[in-house]
Amino acid sequence: MKQPRELLPQVSFSILFALSLQPRHGYEIMKQVEEDSDGKIKLGPGALYGSIKQLRDGGLIEELKSSSVNRRRYYKLSPKGWYRLNVELDYYKTTVKLSRSRHAPEMSI
């Protein structure tokens, strides 16, 4: 696949990361993002569905076929989304590796 030129915004990355465990509906994504970020990222419905729309339009996430019982829409990562998430994680991994190699005493990682 084509290498992306820019990193994803923080919220979009967090949503992809939240969906990497299992398919989720909007509110579950919101709670998972909050938990993953240790409460630092608190999404509201507007930011959440705005990002979901962008990710879905970009082909990074897909909507699951809903069952007749539950009318909530569930989303999962598409193959393109998995690839993109791995690219982002590689970037962060490289950044951490680089900062460790610099041996800066102020860095605690």
């Binding site: 419905p45 507007g46 930011a47 569905y49 909530r72």
Partner: protein
Amino acid sequence: MEQNKSLSLYRFLLKLYPKKYRLEFEEDMIETLNSMLSVKTYDSKLSLTLIILKDYFISLFNQRKYATEESINEIPSSIKRDSSATLFLIAPFMFVYFYNIINLYFRHYIPIIHLESHLWVIYSIILPALGLIIVTRSFIVESYNSFISNNWNNVVSGLKKEWLIIYFGLAMLCLKVIF
């Protein structure tokens, strides 16, 4: 009871979102807000209200911006090009016109631009009329293409969106200048 009131108010506020986005996500957003209100994990009602309002206004601005960009992209490029050309054609007249109005307002502290009569004819009649012809031509051509291909989406979306106001304003300005 209070939760229902909040949800009704939120549903009302969501009407300001672009229609396409609202039709797709309105119910999900309300459902999510309902879940947020039910679990009561926030410090206070005020903090939750502030979070929701901040989120609402930022998201509203973003979605309006995306919707405008999308609607501009939907307009046929020939119409966009021709309306830009028209703006360019009437620019000299608009400059002289507004400059002289400012001059009147400041009681001639800045020198007025006196144009020869033949320049006024060119600036105020010929160039805007040419612009009007160009825009009208592109609408006719696009309408004809749509008629041939039986696909009116482009012209209709170009016509019914915010650009209609701009075209109407331009046409009125040209007519005012001509007559």
